[in-house]
């Protein structure tokens, strides 16, 4: 299929382009930008007047809930949600049931995802068998099966000896290790940030030092082993300051923040809103502001949705018993645009945080628009405000702290390998 996207405002952070330019697609690839190639006969013309055409978004954390947790969501529902959000590539964490610790499971997931012909799925392989933090997985085999990076799920860091060995082994093959810093012995049954809100509400807490102590260990082990580390979902100003210093020392570190933590604080828990039951917990205003500025100065490399669909019943429980997480893959673009608007930033810089920069972290050739490369594109209307309601969200999970809010940015078309996989 040959597609001609005309009159759109093309924004491509890699090439520093922000201009009205046409794009021509054939055989799944971008064949020309600007002027059409010789004898190009489009079978479909998309008029992108007053729309923005950018690289398909790259999301570093989308839980598909398969295998094993299909009551929360299915591959079909969440792949559909991803492209509705303009996301064309994403990483999925290994905390499925069973976890992604065997090549067969990874192959099956990749195969099933591929058959749906939607976004590209990049499974994060389990760093340890069963995610139990005791024995290493067959990382090289898992890599052959399609795992590009390796990680542990939330709050389950192995002991330091196993972690060091896992890092050494991963570094042997130049795999990067993805970890969310949280010291479990300081977490216990904590559900909220250790601050005024948890004190008022009588909620058990996760102190900031649970993040900073784990960070300190991870940074020292990264220095020791030389492995590339990606730090997932930073939540605190103090943690961010440590990462800034480590990066200045030249350590190969990257980090991300979630759409929730860059906009919300523990105050948003209000009167026990279980949609704000997230991990790491939403922290204070000053933490949130530090994260927003950390994105700006580059300490934080990327924004992720930390998409975690939860079934409705699991949120209709007292705060501490409700399931952790929020749906988000469809809110990645709107909430990133909202941050950009509030910080008065050029779109070129804003969109890099959800296209080119996360693609680099994931180590994939995506997040840019280049002649000869796969046509993975997101075409959206930046001035279209829509209200976040359960019916407006395609994900099986309707749980998000942003329900009821109007957000900017509506995906109009999503293209993967030159196919229109979503059209609004």
């Amino acid at each position: 299929m040959k597609i001609h996207i005309k009159n759109g405002r093309l924004i491509d952070p890699k090439h520093g382009v922000d201009a009205v330019q046409d794009i021509f697609i054939a055989k799944g690839k971008v064949v020309a930008i600007g002027a059409p190639p010789n004898e190009f006969q489009a079978s479909r013309v998309i008029d992108a007047k007053s729309l923005i055409v950018c690289p398909g978004l790259v999301d570093l954390s989308v839980r598909l809930r398969e295998p094993g947790l299909e009551y929360k969501a299915t591959l079909e529902s969440e792949m559909g949600a991803a492209v509705a959000g303009g996301v064309t590539s994403f990483a999925c964490p290994p905390d499925t049931d069973p976890p992604l610790d065997e090549p067969g499971l990874v192959e099956m997931l990749k195969h099933r995802a591929k058959n749906l012909n939607q976004a590209h799925v990049y499974p994060i392989g389990a760093l340890t068998q069963g995610l139990r933090g005791e024995r290493l997985t067959e990382m090289a085999e898992l890599n052959d099966a399609g795992c590009v990076v390796f990680g542990q799920p939330d709050g389950l860091l192995p002991n330091l000896r196993v972690l060091m060995q896992a890092m050494q082994y991963a570094s042997t093959f130049d795999f990067s290790v993805w970890l969310r810093p949280q010291e479990i012995s300081l977490t216990n049954d904590g559900v909220a940030h250790d601050g005024e809100v948890a004190t008022r509400l009588g909620l058990p807490t996760v102190p900031v030092c649970a993040e900073t102590i784990a960070l300190s260990n991870i940074i020292l082990l990264a220095k020791e082993t030389g492995v590339r580390v990606h730090l997932c979902r930073i939540s605190s100003a103090e943690g961010l300051a440590m990462i800034r210093v480590a990066k200045q020392q030249g350590l190969p570190l990257t980090c991300d923040v979630t759409i929730n933590h860059m906009h919300l604080s523990d105050m948003d828990i209000g009167f026990f809103d279980s949609n704000c039951h997230l991990m790491p917990p939403l922290r204070g205003f000053s933490d949130r502001d530090a994260l927003r500025n950390g994105l700006l100065d580059g300490t934080i490399d990327a924004i992720c949705s930390d998409h975690a669909p939860v079934d409705e019943d699991a949120k209709l429980l007292p705060f501490g018993q409700s399931d952790i997480g929020a749906t988000g893959v469809e809110l990645l673009l709107p909430l990133t645009l909202k941050w950009g608007l509030e910080m008065r930033l050029p779109l070129l810089k804003v969109l890099a945080k959800i296209t080119l920069d996360p693609a680099k972290i994931l180590g994939i050739d995506a997040g840019h628009i280049t002649v000869g490369n796969a046509a993975d594109l997101c075409i959206f209307d930046p001035d279209y405000y829509w209200k976040v309601t359960p019916s407006a969200i395609l994900s099986q999970g309707k749980n998000t702290p942003f329900l009821g809010l109007e957000l900017p940015g509506r995906t109009k078309y999503t293209l993967v390998n030159g196919h229109i996989v979503y059209e609004y």
């Binding site: 004190t199 009167f271 026990f272 429980l317």
Partner: protein, 319 residues
């Protein structure tokens, strides 16, 4: 998402009693004044008045309790309501039914009011947000969050003995970190205009930024009890001893237990309160608990009148 405190309706009328936080002084005082009129009732030979005749009140105790449940039951019966006690800790929830399923089933039995105790903070809010608009919810203790009727009966007791809130120094002593009673007391005291509220505890039993609730923090009884008019002791849960909150009951008693000697540090006419049940020899010495400055038993008596007041006010405020 708009996440409103459901205890007041749009007109500021009390629909549920979930926490003392955010309630205006006028509502707190109205409850105390109404309770005054019920104190006489509880002292009469015939103790029943027909205010809640034909109403069904369900005591939903997801966490075991004897005293609080009993006082709610007595209060409801004195108002001529039908009372149904459900000890859910050992029934439906253990069969896997969710909290809201349990509540919906009971609502279908035409309940008028739920009195709820639950081990999770926020359980009463969750129920109040999901019941039909004509059902009232009273929080009888949720996790470490709130226990508003206990705080109100404490305010009633203080007013009885001290007459005015505006010239008092009050100290709350013990496990503030895990105490729903302390949180509700702090909000009630500051709302009613007590100029100085102190909390006294070791650092392991204080929540972070507790001073933001409007209290002064002390770790030393000798300093903290100076010039105090009202001492509010808290129960030290036995299970706290199993973690690393405290080394031993003996050491706790030595430094934070209320003994006659420590009581001398407060004002001579200070009163001593305790929400019960007491651990004698852990947070309080028997000589103090049974001494002439103790108002612990009157607290229990007033508790019935205060709960009658809350129930009758809620029943009269149809949404």
């Amino acid at each position: 998402m708009i996440n409103r405190n459901p205890q007041l309706d749009e007109n500021g009328v009390l629909q549920h009693l979930l926490t003392t936080e955010g309630l205006p002084a006028s509502i707190l005082l109205h409850i105390l004044d109404t309770a005054e009129s019920f104190v006489g009732v509880t002292e009469r030979d015939v103790k029943k008045i027909p205010l809640l005749r034909g109403k069904s009140i369900f005591n939903l105790f997801f966490e075991s309790s004897t005293r609080t449940r009993t006082t709610f039951e007595i209060a409801a019966k004195r108002l001529s309501a039908d009372v149904i006690n459900l000890n859910i800790a050992v029934s439906a929830q253990s069969k896997g039914e969710t909290l809201l399923d349990t509540v919906n089933n009971l609502s279908a039995m035409n309940a008028d009011m739920f009195v709820v105790r639950h081990a999770q903070s926020g359980a009463a809010h969750l129920i109040a947000n999901h019941v039909q608009s004509d059902i009232h919810v009273i929080n009888a203790g949720d996790g470490s969050h709130a226990h508003p009727t206990q705080a109100l009966l404490d305010m009633f007791t203080i007013r009885r003995y001290k007459h005015d809130f505006h010239n008092l120094r009050v100290a709350i002593i013990g496990d503030i970190l895990h105490s729903r009673v302390a949180r509700s007391q702090i909000h009630a005291l500051t709302t009613l205009g007590v100029p100085e509220v102190r909390v006294i505890a070791p650092k392991t039993l204080l929540p972070k930024m507790v001073e933001r609730l409007g209290v002064h923090v002390y770790h030393d009884m000798a300093k903290g009890l100076k010039d105090i008019d009202v001492l509010m002791m808290l129960r030290l849960q036995n299970e706290r001893m199993q973690g690393a909150n405290l080394p031993s009951p003996e050491e706790y008693f030595k430094y934070y237990g209320l003994t006659p000697e420590k009581l001398l540090l407060a004002r001579r006419d200070a009163i001593v309160m305790h929400p019960g049940p007491m651990n004698r020899g852990v947070e309080i010495d028997s000589a103090v608990a049974d001494g002439k400055q103790s108002v612990i038993l009157p607290q229990v008596t007033f508790g019935i009148a205060v709960r009658m007041a809350v129930m009758s006010i809620l029943a009269g405020n149809q949404g």
